[in-house]
Structure formats: structure tokens, C-alpha cells
């Protein structure tokens, strides 16, 4: 991870922007999973496998999202605080 100390404000802005949408990303498979769980779209053993696979990918999605979020946070933390203008 390389941080240019002149970008701390940019990093903080990025963190805010990502913070607004990271929740949507982590929940991206919630609605499809809910449809599968309702049994109103597709049922049967193939549907069960499909639903299980979706559950697994939801975990992967959340892990990836947490990692991205964590890396931005780390980058912000590593950036030196900017001096107030003289």
C-alpha cells in the first residue's frame, strides 16, 4: 500500500463515498436470495443448489466488500494528517 501524503483529503472523500454504497454492495444478493427462499420463482433440487451457491457467493461478496472497506480505512489511517494552512 502506497500513500501519498498529499491525498489524505482525497482518501477521506473516497471513504465517505464508498461508505454510502458499501452497504448496498454487501446486500446485493439479499433480494435474489429472498426470492429463492420464498419458493415463488423456482423450486426443486436444482433450485436448492442454485440457492445454496448464491448463499456461498453472498459470503464471498461480503468478505470482498469488507476487505475493500478495510483497505480504504487503512489507507486513510496511514496518511499523515494535513497541516492547517499557515
Amino acid at each position: 500500500m502506497v500513500v501519498n501524503d498529499t491525498t489524505r483529503a482525497d482518501l477521506e472523500r473516497l471513504q465517505i463515498q464508498v461508505g454510502r454504497i458499501i452497504g448496498d454492495l454487501k446486500a446485493a444478493l439479499d433480494a435474489p436470495l429472498s426470492i429463492m427462499a420464498s419458493g415463488e420463482a423456482w423450486t426443486g433440487s436444482r433450485a436448492d443448489s442454485f440457492g445454496q451457491s448464491m448463499e456461498i457467493h453472498k459470503s464471498v461478496l461480503q468478505k470482498g466488500a469488507d476487505a475493500v472497506d478495510g483497505d480504504i480505512e487503512a489507507a486513510v489511517a496511514a496518511a499523515p494528517a494535513e497541516e492547517p494552512p499557515a
Binding site: 473516497l14 420463482a41 464471498v60 475493500v68 478495510g70
Partner: protein, 653 residues
């Protein structure tokens, strides 16, 4: 074998949600967009291993989306076969597992082998076996028809229709499959290259009868409810545009046939007839197509076509079925409540038919069913204003004629004219059987409306006049109908014998004005006979063994009794009923049946006296009610009789 249950709406929802999920992940990883969280991070020299996980999920969702879209396409095709099922069952196999592009490829490969076969000779059964496995697969069928092209598709269909097609009894099944396959192809949500051109060319004018017939044959079995614009262009471009311009002329494409023999698939060989048959399958398509033409021109052509040569009798018959579909004359009995679109088409059709003095006999069955479905409008259209002369009034969708009795209780959706009603009814008087749906509908309408009118009238003091208004309208309709029947029946003597027998059965059976399902039409027939027909002569002629005394009874006596009996049943004269002599009563205290009262002269006289408050009987409200009712009927009937005499003078002997 593994089966799944799927729902079209559920899968549509799932597809929509997966598309949203894919976009949300893409906003981070930037697979298809320039702006992304990853791009923003890269600009700030920040990286994350988390994106590898997001890429894995993106690829999975992308693949899941394709699988779901394909399953949705298959589910849509299956649900057309089971339209009312909330979920349909599909077998999980290599077909459902196919990538849409691979399914399309499979369809194209099959089409190439059709082209190589060049016709239905040889081992066509093997090709059709493969086709059957793909017929409900929109991706595969879209590929098949895009590759095969419109002309070859039509020629294969035409080859199957030929009497000696070479595929024997499978011809119809194969044609059905090809038609179902075309319907599936048009359901494809992502049409492949060539399918758009296929659709355009399919509706272009052609002078090749085999191509024209084949195109229309391919519309006979599949589901085209999602592609009506395509079906409309095909029917019009192939046949009906030409038909309207001169469908009775020998050189016209719509006047051609696939073969001079019968087709091997049970479809009409006549191209115009097959075009109309297409419309008879789909009410919405029927209305869509008919609204693109002038109905008067269409009926003119059907008339010319149906009169000669005789082997084109399919054209009026199929035209009638197409109109029946469009105007909502479905059901048994035909439905009498209609949508505005159905009403409009019915108005246009009946008005156009009403301009013709003679109509093709094979149109008759449909005319009677349409008349039954629009029986309120037929009765309302029979109204004749005092002093009005034939030929002046035009039918109207909105405006009632002057002095129309709005309180008669009818609720017509449009107003015809007596000229139109008479000529329309003349179109289905070939035999009593042909006219039966309409006669039954009239019996039913009289039954419902008279009860309602009598109850409404005698709820007030003095009684209202709705019953009289109604009876006058019924009298006019019945008279127009009787004259149409007398003048236009194929064999009036046979018709008369049929009516006479029905009266005998009716009279000896002792029915009142209570239509049963088997005799709904009889009271209506009876009420047509106001022109002085001596019913006794008729009944005597058939020498009934029931000993019915009918020597002196006339139709008007029976009518009089039937009105009286119905008034009694609706509570009119309830107080007077207390003074009814015991010999005129049943054990239940009601009036004895007609044949018993009129079978004995003394009883008939006594009944007359009781109703008319003669010979010491007290005042009876039935007296005025029956007289006024019968007078109203007679007025309507006589006006209509005069109208027909003026409209269609009979040659002097």
C-alpha cells in the same frame, strides 16, 4: 430425471434483482463502466485484494443471470400451454442447461439440415424428432427460423399441407410443431440476427399461393398472443389486403388455394379462408385486423366470394368464426355482456351485413350466434317510431332514435335500424336449427325482461308502462323475424312443419310462458304468429293423439293466456286470485295449465269471464294488464309487418 417448478412472474422478478446486483458489483470493480470504486482507488494508489472476491461473485451472478433468463424463456413458452397455472413444471436436462447462444446455434444447425433436406421427403421424421425437442425453446427456435428464412419456412408448411405430402398421418402434428416453434421463436427476449428480417418479410405481399398458404398455416397452432403485430402484418400482407381489393376475382392471391383437393392437415385450402381462420383463434387479433379494414368492403367481398363458385363456401364460414371471436359471441349460450371494443366491431359488422339482401348460407351459423350475443341490440334496433318510413334511419353507436322507449329496461350498446335487423336476421333463417341460438336467446330475454318489467310496473299505482313498451319492442322483433324466416328459409314448408310440431309438443306438454332449456324458443315462436295464423289448424294438421282440443284456438288466444299466466306468476291480481273458481285451479291454488283450460270450452269461457270481471266476477287488474300487453305486442308486430312489406315488396301472384 429432475423436475423444477417455475413461475414466470417469479423468474421475471429474480432476473430484475440479479441485474441490479450485477450493476452494484460493477460499480465497484468497473468491468463494464469507466467510473468505479476500483478506478478511484487506483488513482489514489490504493489497492485491495477484496476485488478478487468481488470479481468471483460478479462472474457467478453474470452466469446465474443468463441461466435464469434462459429458464424464464422456457417457462414463458411452457406457460402458454398452461395459461392458468401459477407455476409450470420443466424437466431439467441438457436443454435447460444450454447457454442461450448455444441453444441458438443448435436451432441454426437444425435449420441448415432442413435446408439440405430441401423438403419433407426422405427421413423428415428424424428431423422433426429433433425439432420437437426444441419447439418450446425460444432461443433455439429463434435461431432456427432466423436461419431457415421466411420463404423456406412457408414452403415446408405448404409441403406438409399437400394431399400427398409423403409424411402420412404425421403431417398435421409436424405442422403444429412448426407453428408452435414459430410462436416460441417470437418470444425470444434477445432476438438473434436475421429474426427481424424474417418477421418483416413474412408479412410482405406474395403472388405464390404455396408461400401465402404456408405462412398462414404457420400461424394456426402456436401462441402469437405476444406478437400480434407480427400476426396482423402477416394476415393482412399475405391475404386480407388483397382480399379487400377484390378477393372474389380469380387472379387475386386471396382467391388462390394450396390445392384443389383437401389439405392433409384439416385446414382450409382457400387462402382467404385460412386467413380468417387465423383470426378466429384470437379475439384480440381479430379486432386488431378488422379495425384496419373497411367492414362494408370486407362483407361485400365475402358476399361475392360465398355466392360462387360453390367450392369457396369456407370463406364465409371462416369469416363468420373470425367475427364471432372479435365480437365476443363465445359461450353457450353466447355471452351478452361485452367490452367497448367488442361492441364496436359488432356494430360495424351487423350494420354492414344489414346492407345485403342475400348473404352466403355458410355465414348463417355465425350470424345466429352473433345475434344471440347481441340480442338486446337486435330488439332495440327493431323499434319503429310512428310514421317512420324504411330506409331513412342509419344505425348509430350513440344516438337512440326519436321517442325510443328508454324505460323498457333494455340496455343496448348501440342502435341499429329495422332495415338492418330484418336483413341481418334474414341471413340465418336457412333452417330452424341454424336460427336456434338466436331463438333461444330471444326466449331467454323475454323470460327475464318480462318478469322484471311486470314486477316494476305493478309495484306502483297506477301500474307503469314498461311491460307494454317491452312487448311492443318484442312484437316488432318477432314480426321482423317471422317475415325474414317466411321469405328466406331454404325450405319454408319444412320450417313450418318444424314450428308446428314444436307447438304441438309445447301445447300438449302444458308449458306456460316458462321456457325450459329444451323449449326456450317456443314461446318466442308463438309470439311471432300474430298475423292471424289459426293455431288450431296447425295443431290439427299433425293429428296429435293427446286429444288436445284445439279446434278453435288461435295463436292470439295462447298469447293472451300466456301473458295472463305470467302476470299471475308475478303477483298481479293476487287478490282476484281468491275469486278464481275451483275448477280453474290446481291443487296448489294456481292457474290450471293452458291445454286444460282451453281443452274445455266451458272452462275457457269461465277463465275469460274471470279475467274480464264478467258474469259476477269482481274487478280484476289482469283484465287491463293482459289487454294492454297484447295490444302493445300487436302494435309492434303490425308496424314491423308493414315495414317489411314496404322494404321488400313481395311479387304479386
Amino acid at each position: 430425471m429432475t423436475f423444477s417448478s417455475v413461475s414466470v412472474t417469479g423468474l421475471e422478478d429474480l432476473v430484475a434483482k440479479l441485474q441490479i446486483a450485477l450493476r452494484e458489483i460493477d460499480d465497484f470493480i468497473g468491468f463494464t463502466t469507466e467510473r468505479s470504486v476500483r478506478a478511484d482507488m487506483n488513482r489514489l494508489d490504493v489497492t485491495s485484494a477484496g476485488f478478487q472476491d468481488l470479481e468471483i461473485v460478479y462472474e457467478w451472478v453474470d452466469s446465474a443471470l443468463q441461466e435464469t433468463q434462459r429458464r424464464l424463456g422456457l417457462a414463458r413458452a411452457m406457460q402458454r400451454q398452461h395459461p392458468n397455472a401459477p407455476m409450470v413444471r420443466i424437466e431439467e436436462n441438457e436443454v435447460t442447461d444450454l447457454d442461450p447462444a448455444l441453444a441458438e446455434r443448435q436451432g441454426r444447425d437444425l435449420a441448415i439440415r432442413f435446408e439440405q433436406a430441401g423438403g419433407v421427403d426422405g427421413d423428415f421424421a428424424a428431423l422433426m424428432q429433433e425439432f420437437e425437442a426444441l419447439a418450446y425453446d425460444p432461443d433455439a427456435m429463434a435461431g432456427f427460423y432466423a436461419e431457415l428464412g421466411p420463404e423456406m419456412a412457408a414452403r415446408f408448411a405448404a409441403a406438409l399441407g399437400m394431399p400427398e405430402s409423403g409424411v402420412g398421418e404425421n403431417a398435421q402434428r409436424y405442422l403444429e410443431l412448426m407453428s408452435i416453434g414459430l410462436g416460441s421463436a417470437l418470444m425470444d427476449a434477445t432476438p438473434p440476427d436475421g429474426l427481424g428480417a424474417f418477421q418483416n418479410e413474412f408479412g410482405e405481399a406474395t403472388d405464390d399461393p404455396k408461400v401465402a398458404w404456408g405462412r398462414l398455416a404457420l400461424l394456426q397452432y402456436g401462441d402469437f398472443s405476444g406478437s400480434r403485430a407480427f400476426a396482423e402484418r402477416t394476415v393482412n400482407g399475405t391475404a386480407l389486403d388483397a382480399f379487400v381489393a377484390g378477393g372474389h376475382e380469380p387472379g387475386n392471391i386471396a382467391a388462390q388455394s394450396l390445392t384443389s383437393d383437401r389439405t392433409s392437415v384439416g385446414l382450409p385450402s382457400d387462402i382467404a379462408a385460412l386467413a380468417f381462420r387465423t383470426l378466429s383463434r384470437d379475439p384480440e387479433l381479430s379486432r386488431l385486423v378488422f379495425q384496419t379494414h373497411d367492414m362494408e368492403q370486407l362483407v361485400d367481398q365475402v358476399d361475392l366470394t360465398g355466392m360462387s363458385p360453390p367450392d369457396r363456401h369456407d370463406v364465409p364460414e371462416m369469416f363468420g368464426l373470425a367475427i364471432e371471436a372479435g365480437v365476443g359471441a363465445d359461450g353457450d349460450p353466447p355471452r351478452t355482456e361485452h367490452s367497448p371494443e367488442e361492441n364496436l366491431l359488432a356494430f360495424q359488422f351487423i350494420s354492414a351485413v344489414g346492407r345485403h339482401k342475400e348473404l352466403p348460407p355458410t355465414l348463417g351459423n355465425s350470424l345466429a350466434r352473433i345475434g344471440a350475443a347481441y340480442v338486446d341490440e337486435i330488439v332495440a334496433g327493431s323499434y319503429i317510431d310512428g310514421g317512420e318510413r324504411p330506409g331513412r334511419r342509419e344505425p348509430s353507436m350513440t344516438g337512440a332514435p326519436p321517442d325510443f322507449p328508454a324505460d323498457a329496461g333494455l340496455s343496448p350498446s348501440f342502435y341499429l335500424s329495422p332495415d338492418v335487423v330484418y336483413r341481418f336476421m334474414a341471413g340465418f333463417q336457412d333452417t330452424l336449427e341454424t336460427a336456434k341460438p338466436f331463438d333461444d336467446a330471444m326466449g331467454r330475454l323475454m323470460d327475464e325482461q318480462l318478469d322484471a318489467a311486470m314486477q316494476a310496473d305493478w309495484a306502483t299505482n297506477p301500474p307503469g308502462t314498461r311491460t307494454q313498451d317491452l312487448l311492443r319492442l318484442f312484437g316488432a322483433t318477432a314480426s321482423l323475424n317471422f317475415e325474414a324466416r317466411r321469405r328466406h328459409a331454404a325450405d319454408w314448408d319444412a320450417t313450418e312443419r318444424g314450428i308446428r310440431q314444436a307447438f304441438t309438443d309445447f301445447y300438449t306438454g302444458g308449458a306456460g310462458l316458462i321456457p325450459t332449456n329444451a323449449a326456450l324458443h317456443v314461446p318466442y315462436w308463438l309470439f311471432q304468429l300474430i298475423g292471424g295464423k289459426l293455431l288450431g289448424n296447425w295443431v290439427d294438421d299433425v293429428h296429435t293423439e293427446e286429444g288436445v282440443v284445439a279446434e278453435n284456438i288461435e295463436a292470439k288466444h295462447m298469447q293472451w293466456y300466456l301473458i295472463a299466466e305470467r302476470l299471475v306468476r308475478n303477483g298481479v291480481g293476487a287478490e282476484a286470485l281468491a275469486s278464481l273458481p275451483p275448477e280453474l285451479r290446481t291443487e296448489d291454488g294456481l292457474l290450471r295449465p293452458m291445454e286444460e283450460i282451453f281443452g274445455d270450452t266451458a272452462l275457457a269461457d269461465e277463465f275469460y269471464d274471470w279475467v274480464n270481471a264478467q258474469s259476477g266476477y269482481p274487478a280484476n287488474p289482469l283484465n287491463e294488464g293482459v289487454d294492454a300487453g297484447q295490444q302493445a305486442w300487436n302494435d309492434g308486430a303490425m308496424e314491423a309487418q308493414d315495414w317489411v312489406a314496404y322494404l321488400e315488396p313481395e311479387p304479386e301472384n
